[in-house]
């Protein structure tokens, strides 16, 4: 008798394209997913929101078949499924489109769409592939020739190909992980329209985007994850502000992190004190960004933002001497300072926190101490010999000040969390007493708490008389700064002060 009842309880709702129940995933020391449910109706678009570290990526990894869950069930179209590889996930009807597309640039559109059939040594009939590709592409609105080389297409067109590739397998559920991040606004609108029409055809869609206005524009319902649990399901579309509150929790309400997530007012800076410490005139690299001019004052936070690939990252690299320039001057305190290499930049008192702290910032196998002193070996040596006691002392002091969580300054940074690693990078330039700090996407991939801490560190650094150039693709994060430059196609196209941004939310929309 009891068995029958159980069976009834477990019987899934037949209107659901995807029914995830009690999904669990534990990494050593971390519970990434703690019993998460997710329902996607056929023909619905479900938004999935959550701050960094909320478990969003783990959920995506499991649904795409990249990782196996530790517990819980996944039902697709009323059938329980169990997949342990991306291939099996697709076969089961769940197709994931990642932000980084999985296309082969050298092959044609048709070949890419049918890539998984191009195996086992069968003879490929090119014309057949192209004919079948046209059908799918036409249903998506066309505009792409199946014979084109994928590498020659625009990003938006490539995404179309990726979607065509997904539809070929007639999936029940389509998961799009940050598909809009790299697209210009007009293409974003097109993509959202396309998603709508896909939903109408009966596919269940899961949409992940950190741009909450897009989420509210297209989704039928929104699921919010926090700390590995589902905290809220909005059955009707909420205001972005409500999503943010659910995402970050009460503890961080009215925090800088909340402000950076698109609500309320917040400011990192507000310490500007007169003299210009860095002046850039007509800096250009002749390829990725055009002549850029700006000044940075003591205690000032200058935000530089733009869509990905607008040239802001390249500008930051050039400023740090890591990218050759074709024209322009850089002045420090009114004196011309050629910055031809990172070494020269460091000597000129400029520090750099790169976009990817793991591949560009830290020596992962080295200790907290060694990473901290890496840019200041001169100060920590005498006649070429290291003064290890001083190194240890300085590192311990900074670990203490910045609240870096580590058992010992001898701990290798590879074992630390993203937020703590970022603090170690910060410590590297604090110990060097760098006057100007160029930071690229400093809060990417860290959780809300760490994000808040990083903003506070930047603020403390500004209070101490430093100046920050904060390069970020998040307009809201940039608007925490005293002044914001907006870049597009390698040029500065707009400039606004913090006050202007706060007084006009429209301006923010315009900048985006």
């Amino acid at each position: 008798m009891a068995k029958v009842v159980d069976a009834v309880v477990l019987e899934p709702d037949h209107g659901l394209a995807l029914d995830v129940r009690g999904l669990r995933k534990t990494y050593p020391g971390v519970v990434a997913l703690d019993g998460v449910d997710l329902h996607v109706e056929r023909g619905a678009v479900v938004g999935l929101a959550g701050a960094n570290g909320a478990g969003k990526s783990t959920l995506v990894n499991i649904l795409s078949g990249a990782q196996a869950p530790d517990g819980g069930e996944i039902w697709v179209d009323g059938r329980p499924v169990n997949f342990v590889s991306p291939h099996e996930a697709r076969a089961a009807g769940v197709y994931t489109i990642f932000q980084e597309l999985s296309l082969v640039p050298q092959l044609s559109v048709a070949e890419n769409i049918y890539l998984d059939e191009l195996q086992g040594g069968r003879v490929v009939r090119q014309r057949d592939l192209e004919r079948r590709s046209v059908e799918i592409l036409d249903s998506l609105g066309g505009g792409v020739d199946p014979r084109d080389r994928v590498g020659d297409l625009s990003l938006a067109q490539q995404q179309l190909v990726e979607i065509a590739k997904a539809l070929k397998g007639q999936p029940s559920v389509l998961l799009l992980d940050e598909p809009t991040t790299t697209l210009p606004p007009r293409e974003v609108d097109k993509l959202l329209e396309l998603m709508r029409s896909l939903a109408t055809s009966g596919v269940g869609l899961i949409f992940i985007s950190h741009r909450l206005d897009e989420v509210t524009a297209i989704c039928d319902s929104v699921e919010v994850l926090r700390d590995g649990r589902k905290v809220t399901r909005f059955e009707s579309v909420p205001a972005p502000r409500e999503i943010v509150r659910a995402m970050i929790g009460e503890r961080y309400e009215n925090s800088l992190a909340a402000a950076a997530a698109d609500t309320g007012a917040g400011r990192i800076g507000g310490q500007v004190r007169g003299d210009v410490v860095l002046s850039v005139q007509g800096l250009a690299d002749g390829q990725r960004f055009g002549p850029c001019s700006f000044e940075l004052r003591k205690g000032e936070a200058l935000g530089v933002t733009g869509l990905l690939g607008s040239g802001q990252n390249e500008l930051a690299e050039a400023l740090f001497g890591s990218r050759p320039v074709s024209a322009g001057k850089i002045q420090r305190h009114g004196r011309e300072t050629p910055v031809r290499s990172p070494r020269a930049a460091v000597a000129a008192g400029i520090g750099y926190i790169p976009e990817d702290r793991k591949t560009e910032g830290l020596v992962l196998g080295m200790s907290v101490r060694d990473n901290t002193t890496l840019a200041s070996l001169g100060t920590f040596s005498h006649g070429g010999f290291l003064r290890r006691a001083r190194e240890r002392h300085a590192a311990e002091k900074l670990v203490d000040e910045l609240h870096v969580k580590c058992t010992d300054v001898g701990q290798r940074v590879v074992t630390m969390s993203g937020g703590n690693q970022q603090k170690v990078l910060f410590a590297r330039w604090l110990v060097r007493s760098s006057e100007v700090l160029v930071m690229v996407e400093p809060t990417r991939g860290v959780d809300v708490g760490a994000k808040e801490e990083i903003y506070r560190l930047v603020r403390a650094y500004l209070e101490g008389g430093g100046a920050v150039l904060l390069v970020t693709s998040e307009v809201a994060e940039a608007s925490l700064c005293d002044r914001v430059l907006v870049m597009s196609m390698g040029r500065v196209v707009a400039e606004a002060t913090h006050e202007e941004l706060q007084n006009s939310r429209d301006l923010l929309g315009h900048l985006r």
Binding site: N52, G53, P342, M366, G384, E396, T415
Partner: protein, 368 residues
């Protein structure tokens, strides 16, 4: 206020460091060395004789010096296939100069200078020519031996300068000079890597070249330094060879590039750079030397020896740079968790993360 917690911190840290009861790389190597030694003593009663041990040490000292030379390049993610040829070049240059009547001092100095120059050319081609180290040093391997052959004109050149032969082939007390030289080289190299800024920068560059560059380190100069040191030490190894063989010849030292790589990887240096130390490399050379000595004592022909040596290298690379690294880490993590149980505060969570860095990284890198 700040001094008290600092001291307290220190105490915690000191106990914290004692908790992960762990044999370092060097510890493992010494265990392996002892095991090989025991096997050796079982295989042949001559193995532990003073004469045989002296043989092993003298033979291993050349490989040890070449191993340290190789280490400096490997730690920067490079590889130096030219060390054997450069050693041969050194034997010929010194022999020619001595025959011409130059003093031992001048001959040695010029030979070492030439070898350092060969290293500099290697480094310049890697750094400025942007050619892969494998290709550059493969070419130098051929060039250096060719130059040695051209200089020597004819077959080998006998060395009879007594002070040269004494310094590089004689004994000080009961200790053969080659062994002394190898020990000095190892100790100096270890000190450079551990106590100087150059050493720290080489580790940083090998660990993450981009991070080193973006920290404002002189990465080009450091890479050049590594290749120059490698050339210089290869030359020194050649002088030791010349002292032992009492001749200069373009034919000596063939296959030594392989032995030197074997010594570094057996010594735990990662071919991906940034990890390892010179002392372990020397122990690696010693292990290899002992293994071939045992094979000789057991009467194994030289051809099967080549096969066995190749297998030893493969196993070592597998464990230090290949798929075996994960295996080792897992094993070590398990052991440490057992040892750390006494203090639940620190160790377990730490090695938990270390156990699956790949997983944690993918999880966080997908987040935007």
């Amino acid at each position: 206020m700040s001094s008290t917690p600092a001291r307290f911190d220190g105490d915690v840290l000191r106990t914290g460091r004692r908790i992960p009861f762990r044999l370092g790389t060097l510890g493992y190597l010494i265990v392996v060395l002892l095991v090989v030694g025991i096997i050796g003593s079982l295989v042949s009663e001559h193995f532990l004789s003073v004469r045989n041990i002296e043989n092993i040490l003298v033979a291993a000292s050349v490989v040890a010096i070449l191993g340290v030379a190789q280490f400096f390049v490997v730690v920067t993610r490079g590889i130096d296939l030219s060390v054997g040829s450069i050693a041969a070049l050194a034997t010929v240059i010194v022999a020619v100069l001595l025959r011409q009547g130059h003093s031992a001092f001048v001959a040695v100095l010029l030979a070492l200078l030439a070898c350092a120059l060969a290293g500099l050319v290697n480094g310049a081609l890697v750094v400025f020519g942007r050619i892969a180290p494998f290709v550059v040093t493969l070419a130098m391997m051929s060039i250096a031996r060719g130059v040695a052959f051209i200089i020597q004109v004819g077959t080998l050149i006998v060395i009879s300068n007594s002070s040269f032969l004494h310094v590089f082939g004689g004994k000080t007390g009961a200790v053969p000079n080659p062994v002394l030289i190898a020990v000095v080289v190892a100790v100096l190299a270890a000190a450079v890597m551990r106590f100087t800024t150059v050493g720290r920068r080489l580790y940083a560059f090998g660990g993450n070249p981009e991070a080193a560059r973006l920290s404002g380190l002189p990465v080009r100069r450091d890479q050049l330094t590594a290749y120059v040191i490698s050339g210089l030490l290869a030359g020194l190894a050649g002088l030791v060879l010349a002292g032992r063989l009492q001749q200069g010849s373009s034919l000596v030292g063939q296959g030594y590039e392989l032995d030197s790589i074997a010594a570094t990887v057996v010594g735990g240096t990662s071919l991906f750079g940034g990890v390892g130390d010179p002392i372990s490399t020397v122990v690696g050379a010693l292990i290899i030397g002992m293994i071939s000595n045992i094979m000789n004592l057991a009467g194994i022909q030289s051809e099967p020896q080549l096969v066995i040596r190749g297998v030893v290298i493969l196993v070592a690379v597998f464990l230090t740079s290949g798929g075996g690294t994960a295996l080792l880490r897992r094993g070590r993590g398990r052991r440490r968790r057992g040892g750390g149980a006494a203090d639940p505060g620190t160790a377990p969570s730490q090695d938990g993360i270390e156990q699956a860095p790949g997983v944690v990284e993918t999880a966080s890198s997908r987040q935007s």
